[in-house]
Symmetry: D2
């Protein structure tokens, strides 16, 4: 079968990760073009990825490059416009989360996707492709835990990386938009339902810089669904042990807990501290396999003319919920969410 | 040193447990009297505990029995009146939680305790005496996790016992008063602070009988403190694996998690299901040691003229918070808590 | 029922532990006499245990003290003679392991026990009374793991206590006699069979002082039984994480593993090291409950005229196997064991 | 850089796994030829792998195919002859374990490797490439556990696959040659030393068919090294919970334990059985990443002119130790191993 030719837009940390997967680890894909406004990133494309067809302008890449698809890993504010441009240029689209930075943008992306039912649109909620999360969903679908009615989700970045988060805080949109969107997607996915009310709070006890940026180092939110199902999300940036992503799905017949210990590997070290499980250092380590699998799935969808499971509407809804959470957090009172 | 002579009031399941500890496992205590309105319980006292001085009337026991102290394990509605009567009769008092069933009762108990500074008053928040919880508090005090700023507490009764909970539902006061009070106490203890706002929800997906009783099988509540510290409590009645009490204390330098697996013992069974940790069956198994240790501490306080660490005010506050939680849950909106 | 009056012989670390249990935690026992050649230990008996009837001579205690039973916690070389003297004086006997320091002594103890079928003789293999080990045996008896055919047992003292072990090495009889006897007992207990051949080795890589004492800091032994069942024992003295006692029972339908992590309690600490389980510091912490339960069982056996499950022959056999292991280790070749 | 063209010999279960990695997951490799005596396997090559240049004769593939390297995944008895033929034909060689089925064959392979220092020879001890094992070795090299002096290695195939093992038993060479060779390699790797004596035993309590084939369903061996270091290997075929590969490396300053629970993924299921970790189903699942990483390393060695870390001599030694273990097991007595 013909390989899917992909052009990548954005070669930051995550862009490099996706590009490396496309170039070296996915047999039925070929990375044939790259676009970035950073000259160093285009050098990287040439020297490390072997991609010689490089662009500084996204539209030019769409117009000239020999590509079937684009992978959009640019800054969040550009996602929706690029999605629309790429689809209108007849390219299949993989886009990193979040879909957009406001609801209006998301609606534009929705319309572009609706205009092109012949093209695949894939939104990068990679956690769904992590083997442990995927397995948990299999169990849920098989009825192992009965009816899932509560999701408790935790996502905490490592303290080791907090300085970057502090620098980014003033422009991040706040902790719920920056961090909770994955947890919100998991909550929606496992519950099979959207929340209709949110109540939220934040706390900063270690790095006052977050407060200075009108943000918090820790955020928590509680969600109510129409059925009575409940969500609880806890996000933060100061885990001393590493990158802590943990999700609990409570059902009528059992509970599934994914990675209560975010273990680095299968080693246990017995030393003067006790019995120690070292933990993963960050999302690239924790979700390496998930990033590969989601891109494989995107390529396969393109080749096989299949529609990805995650839709553009999932992107809009998660964004909307993250915005509502931020508003509830800032106002300090519960907020209804209407779709 | 002279043994402390104790009269017990109430010999239900928990009363028998306390009575057994007093009679057989605490060297400096002596169980010399028992009071119950149930003839079978008094037979039990005679035959199993060797207590021949038995009463059907609490005040009569206070007046006639050769006792230094009373252990009150009666129904919750009688606690405060019996506390006052016992203290006024010059007896030291151990009382099971909750302190009372409304705030007015609690205030009466407070006044009785204040009238008798010479007597020990001990409220049975036994979880504080569990070796794992006590160790966690030692760690917190030693600064191991820095400043604790979030407590996530879970307490779920086993599905195996749900029929009892269903029968008890109409008169239990609701899941937050019936079950969350221990978790509320732990939250206050670990945070060193009282919440000023609560938001709550409930869910019933397995046993509609709880809804019939204007209650829920699962309850969750989120608390905000004045300092910004946060609490989250999840209580329920349908854990298929056993009795699940788990608490997480998040601090600026680390996190402590107590019993994420409510393991029955140190065995792992590798069988066709995988690697299995069996779980504890209920509170008598999980907190057997805690019940013994709290009673030992009560007896030691009496002998040594010390004041117990848990005060009557802790009882009032936990009760008040549980009531506020219930109200927030029923009204479906956040509620300020004023002390 | 009349309390069992007990005299204790030996008030070293383990003696104090047993005495404390008898004096304060076992309702149907009474510690009425104590014997020690160390004046400080007799002072301890008076001041801490409230025992005023003290002796420096074991036979004098047997002759004069008001006791139904003795607890022998003296040095190993005196066990068998004291067992015989106590039984001949009509006293029930609890004796710490090992039964004796050579087989001839053990045979003398066996004869004394046989002379007094009316008296209870209890040998302190306390691990059998540990709730986790007892539960594992229940599972084995219930057939959960089918036919048990291999036991892998590990017992390693903490590095923190190694200096004591070094001082004791020249007179300890070697690591297999000093340490492996509990593991040997567990192997026999779980397999329901005695080994007929042993092969052993030792290693010293940290503390050469053990080699100087003709001993090793680590010892391993492999056992074959007539049925084909297999045992493997690993003992040592240099665990940096604490006191590591772990046992695996492999059966045709499953495997039971007892305490692969010798956890101190149910806390997990997430800190810069990762997810950490702190470990127990030594046998008094690990087996506190087992020591209490075995003594309760001894007292109950005396009161109820029951025979303890562990017999004097278990003591002889474990001793014989430990000696055979030591010989196999010293000769560097397999040795047949005949009973 | 030019892709490495590889021809694969043998397309059984493991051959398919390697071929799939070469064809689809390793960017700098190209699977250009395949050889098998099974027509169905050649059909698989054409249809599933897209390899049209297929052979039924290994030498013909060497002579005619456009290949830089061969991957030998044929039956063990053919490995050494094919290694020599391929090297003599100027091809780099990847060969599955074991190196050969007798020492003489291994020596022939050694000579072939020595004749061609310009070519890469890679022996498939894939466990060394498993992230957890590789990490453990990093820790050992970093001195985290001090001097490693004991390795306890366990490798048990799942009961679910036992019928295949029973059918294969008469020709497998016995459990130590069939199964222990990976554990022996790990022991040598972690200790940095070869054993000089072995003592072994076997047991069959579930499937007497193994006894009929002069084999056992469980085998254990104890090894002594000249330095005093010790090895213990336990292999079997009847794990009810899945595929159990576990290794413990004991050092003077700490212990590393790799996969005491051979967990399938990061999910914990709390259900009526307790807290359950499901386990991996077999080596393809457990070592999927290791198989990929070892082949990547082989291809990289070829491209970069590097020598693989595992040498042909490692293959000979592990084979020799497995044979010595088998002999010790059959004779029931310790055996010296001379190299």
């Amino acid at each position: 079968m013909k390989k899917v030719k992909v052009g990548i837009a954005g070669l930051g940390r995550l862009g490099k990760l996706h590009a490396g997967n496309l170039a070296f680890h996915i047999a039925n894909a070929e990375l044939t073009a790259a676009c970035s406004i950073m000259p160093a990133e285009l050098e990287y494309a040439k020297n490390e990825l072997g991609v010689t067809d490089v662009y500084t302008d996204f539209d030019e890449m769409l117009a000239k490059a020999d590509i079937d698809a684009v992978a959009i890993v640019t800054t969040s504010g550009m996602h929706c416009a690029q999605i629309a441009a790429a689809l209108d240029a007849g390219k299949h689209v993989f886009c990193e989360k979040p879909l957009g930075v406001d609801l209006e943008q998301c609606r534009q992306a929705e319309k572009a996707v609706e205009r092109h039912p012949e093209l695949a649109f894939f939104l990068g909620f990679m956690r769904r492709f992590d083997p442990s999360y995927a397995y948990a969903m299999e169990k849920v679908k098989a009825g192992v835990i009965g009816k899932p009615y509560m999701v408790k989700a935790t996502g905490i970045d490592p303290e080791a990386l907090v300085q970057g988060a502090i620098r980014f805080a003033p422009t991040s949109g706040g902790i719920f938009i920056d961090m909770a969107i994955h947890d919100i997607d998991l909550m929606r996915w496992f519950l099979g339902e959207d929340p209709v009310e949110v109540y939220a709070a934040g706390a900063t006890f270690k790095h006052p810089e977050f407060k200075d940026a009108n943000d918090d180092e820790t955020g928590v939110a509680m969600y109510k669904c129409a059925s009575g199902a409940i969500g609880f999300v806890h996000v933060g940036r100061t885990a001393p042990h590493g990158y802590h992503v943990e999700t609990e799905v409570v059902g009528t017949e059992g509970t599934l807990r994914i990675s209560p210990v975010p273990e680095k590997n299968l080693c246990v070290i017995y030393d003067k501290n006790g019995a120690v499980k070292e933990c993963v250092s960050g999302f690239p380590e924790r979700f390496a396999e998930a990033y590969l699998k989601e891109m494989e799935e995107f390529i396969n969808c393109v080749q096989e003319g299949r529609k990805p499971e995650v839709t553009v509407y999932d992107g809009t809804k998660s964004t909307q919920i993250a915005f509502a959470t931020t508003e509830a957090y800032r106002e300090g009172k519960p907020l209804k969410i209407e779709y």
